[in-house]
């Protein structure tokens, strides 16, 4: 029986060590996410949140080199930063929606850019038609994407 027990312990250990790679911790937030997303002075409640998420966890999420996820505290950010951050954090899904000409990520961009309800369809169509000029290359940076969107909207 002793032998049996020791084998039982072995079973358990084998099973136990395999959890080592199980879904433990994942770092989610980008650096300073809260500050910028909720940092708009108009929306006071988000100030409340901004305070709790303010901090630097390292350049984690999608923002490989986007530059908007810097660790320096952003005080009094303009709403453009909000757009920059949103685009940086949602590059892939936004690109997909833009190419399709509809979708939740595109709707959210329209909202951040204050596009009114009746202008929205024109906005979507324009972005879709100019997709090549916005997502110019496979390694385009999110700040360039935002700039390109502005250029596309101005040139019309």
């Amino acid at each position: 029986m002793k032998k049996g027990l020791s084998i039982l312990v072995l079973f358990i250990l084998v099973a136990a060590t395999s959890i080592a790679e199980a879904g433990v911790a994942k770092q989610n937030a980008g650096c300073g996410v809260g500050t910028m997303i909720f940092g708009d002075k108009d929306s006071l409640v988000f100030e409340l949140f901004a305070a709790t998420t303010n901090g630097c966890f390292g350049n984690q999420t999608f923002g490989m080199s986007s530059g908007t996820l810097g660790c320096a505290p952003m005080k009094g950010v303009v709403s453009n930063e909000k757009i920059n951050l949103y685009v940086a954090d949602n590059m892939d899904n936004l690109a997909k929606d833009m190419a399709k000409g509809n979708g939740e990520y595109l709707e959210t961009l329209a909202l951040l850019m204050n596009v009114s309800e009746n202008e929205k369809q024109v906005f979507f169509t324009k972005l879709q038609a100019n997709f090549n000029n916005i997502y110019t290359s496979s390694d385009v940076k999110s700040t360039e994407v935002v700039k390109n969107i502005e250029v596309v909207l101005q040139n019309s």
């Binding site: 029986m1 032998k3 049996g4 084998i7 039982l8 358990i12 099973a15 136990a16 060590t17 395999s18 959890i19 080592a20 199980a22 879904g23 433990v24 911790a25 994942k26 770092q27 989610n28 996410v33 809260g34 997303i37 108009d42 929306s43 006071l44 409640v45 988000f46 409340l48 949140f49 709790t52 998420t53 901090g55 630097c56 966890f57 999420t61 999608f62 490989m64 949103y86 954090d89 590059m91 892939d92 899904n93 690109a95 997909k96 190419a99 399709k100 000409g101 509809n102 939740e104 709707e107 959210t108 909202l111 169509t125 997709f131 090549n132 290359s137 496979s138 390694d139 385009v140 940076k141």
Partner: protein
């Protein structure tokens, strides 16, 4: 460059350790220092605003305390909810463990002295910090109950901001369904979002409670989690980052429940979140976990709902969801399909040529060439490209591409897609909602005959879901059983015997589709009584694992096959142990809504000590009447040199 998922998720199948029984949530890395810093700076901000001492001359704190005592405020549900007090056999205790949360030295154990200290703190002169800012929820309640305004109130900017925020805020309870390939999130998760017109939908703030850990060594992670050695904190992130995590990376469907809190209630909730900023409670996987602590944010808005009461030993996210639903908090709900659910839905509507085109594009062939190779009409082209872009993102999350490969393939597909102006809105149908699913504990009374001896068996399963249970709210094709225990009484011999103790029994039967081919797997371990030659029934300890593939023939008919390993321990074996390679095949059917059928054959060839072949055949038919009741019929055969059989019928009751 940032078309990239930098968090790559490991979809590798993981096995679950024996001693980790109920693990619920996701764990975030949240360095203490962030909170510490923040806490400090809050105090600094308040220092600038110096309050005049004369303002306190008219306040009689003793009188306020006397009033509170006469109204028995320290016994009120609201006070208990705000302080997270719970009564158990050892007395009254707050579940919050951070000393910063209490003002009285015995505040954790004494609601009365904590209330007195709170009143004293809120209504007395203080030039070091603003008491109202530190305990907004306590203050806003006491102000109403005592009819007394503290001079600190006007000096607390945060409070003023929240009060003066005129835009309508709404709160959603978010339920990402379970993720069977990670022990930590097998049971699903819950979080809240707060939104207003400035940050609706994806931009809303997700409020999440999680253990603070960056532990990667499994056993110690499990040990610490079970014994409360981690600290749990609330954190806030944009909701889109949670959607990416759950829906895009982990393939978990998400349910979003809009709650019917009024603006005052939302404010009370915000006050309480603010009070809990940088405050920890010891985190226990079983009960004081992510889903449980989240309930406090709702309970403080309506203390009469007793959301945090009546849990025993463990709290499972779906049970908390049901509690919130039964307490009448839910206004409406929405379903957000995961990326894999979407791909499955798209694939169902595509023809073979389209699938081939998608595969070819995903391999990196020029999308335009591929599309032109087939004679697709515009609509078909759009379908191909839309599905391809989802599939490419899926493959990247599954680590099938390098970052560079992914970027190029993905952007090429989108460039072509942008030239086609057709838009299609894809909305996979919502499955039955989770709160309508069965309760997660069950008792089973079984009557049957084993080798013509009639018996009655009683079994109890603490959690959670069997392949033949109703699938509403559970990952379809998943079986997660922990700690099922059974005893049996034989009427002829009048003996009671211990029958079974399923420590862990997890199976994931995930059908492949033309694009996505998940591994089906299982791990079963525990004590079970099995028939062996000479009519001896042995109570063996077994470990049975396997991996293979499952196929959906129709949406209600699945076939699966696995290669297995089985190990048995018992004194009667030559070396106390037997090990075997084996194989199994099975069928899962749902001919109509409430009926689930399973047929399973397993053959193992044991060869460590004495060599022998062992066959198990199981047939189960279960009729799921509602959330509470099911009927089930089992026919089992075993073969070890001769056949043994058992027939039985069961009545199942689900509870909690």
């Amino acid at each position: 460059m940032s078309l990239l998922l930098n968090i790559r998720h490991d979809l590798k199948k993981t096995i679950v350790p024996f001693f980790i029984c109920l693990i619920f949530c996701h764990f975030l890395l949240y360095p203490h220092s962030i909170f510490a810093q923040q806490y400090q700076s809050t105090i600094d901000d308040q220092k600038k605003d110096i309050i005049a001492q004369e303002l306190f001359a008219d306040i009689n704190v003793q009188q306020l305390i006397a009033l509170a005592n006469s109204k028995k405020l320290s016994q009120s549900k609201k006070w208990w909810a705000l302080l997270h007090y719970k009564k158990n056999i050892s007395g009254i205790k707050s579940l919050v463990d951070d000393p910063k949360f209490f003002l009285a030295p015995d505040g954790k154990y004494n609601p009365e002295s904590e209330l007195e200290a709170t009143i004293r703190f809120l209504y007395s002169y203080n030039d070091k910090e603003n008491p109202v800012c530190r305990f907004m929820a306590r203050y806003s309640w006491l102000k109403k109950e005592l009819g007394a305004v503290s001079p600190h109130e006007t000096h607390c900017e945060k409070l003023q901001e929240i009060i003066s925020f005129k835009d309508d805020m709404s709160v959603h309870l978010i339920f990402p369904t379970g993720y069977i390939n990670s022990p930590a999130s097998m049971f699903g998760h819950t979080l809240l979002t707060v939104q207003s017109q400035y940050n609706p939908g994806l931009l809303s703030s997700a409020v999440n409670y999680a253990a603070n850990t960056n532990e990667t060594f499994g056993p110690s992670f499990a040990f610490k989690g079970i014994f409360g050695l981690y600290r749990g904190y609330f954190s806030i992130q944009p909701y889109y980052s949670k959607v990416q995590e759950y829906s895009d990376l982990e393939s978990r469907d998400i349910w979003e429940y809009k709650l019917n809190l009024n603006q005052d209630e939302v404010r009370m909730m915000l006050f309480h979140i603010w009070e809990l900023d940088n405050i920890y409670s010891d985190y226990y996987f079983f009960d004081e976990n992510c889903s449980y602590n989240l309930l406090y944010l709702l309970e403080v808005t309506r203390p009469d709902t007793h959301l945090t009461d009546n849990f025993f030993f463990w709290v499972i996210p779906i049970d908390t969801l049901r509690k919130v639903s039964n307490a009448g908090f839910i206004e409406n709900k929405a379903f957000r399909p995961s990326r894999t659910t979407l791909i499955q839905y798209l694939v169902d509507h595509l023809n073979k040529q389209q699938i081939n085109a998608i595969k070819s594009i995903a391999k990196g062939n020029n999308p335009l060439d591929v599309i032109n190779h087939y004679s697709f009409n515009d609509l078909e082209k759009v379908q191909v490209l839309d599905c391809a872009s989802e599939y490419i993102q899926y493959c990247y999350a599954d680590k099938q591409y390098s970052q560079k490969e992914y970027q190029t393939i993905f952007i090429n597909v989108l460039k072509l897609r942008s030239t086609l102006t057709n838009t299609i809105t894809y909305s996979p149908p919502a499955p039955p909602p989770p709160e309508d699913g069965h309760y997660s504990s069950r008792i089973n009374i079984q009557m049957g005959s084993f080798e013509n001896d009639s018996f009655t068996e009683l079994s109890y399963r603490p959690s959670y879901h069997d392949l033949c249970d109703d699938t509403s709210g559970f990952v379809s094709g998943s079986q997660i059983i922990f700690g099922e225990i059974a005893a049996r009484y034989y009427w002829d011999t009048q003996k009671i015997q211990f029958q079974r103790f399923d420590i862990i029994d997890i199976e994931s039967i995930a059908p492949i589709n033309p694009l996505i081919k998940p591994l089906s797997w299982k791990i079963i371990t525990g004590f079970e009584r099995l028939p062996f030659k000479n009519n001896s029934e042995l109570l063996v300890y077994q470990l049975n694992t396997g991996g293979g593939y499952a196929f959906s023939l129709t949406h209600w008919f699945q076939l699966y096959g696995m290669v297995e390993f089985s190990g048995l321990l018992h004194n009667d074996f030559e070396n106390n142990i037997e090990v075997a390679p084996g194989a199994s095949i099975g069928l899962l059917l749902q001919p109509f809504n409430k009926m689930r059928l399973r047929f399973h054959v397993n053959d193992c060839y044991y060869m460590f000590g004495e060599s022998f072949n062992y066959i198990t055949i199981k047939t189960i038919a279960q009729y799921n009447i509602n959330q509470r009741f099911s009927f089930r019929f089992d026919v089992n055969y075993w073969h070890h040199e001769q056949w043994y059989h058992q027939f039985s019928g069961s009545f199942i009751y689900y509870f909690w």
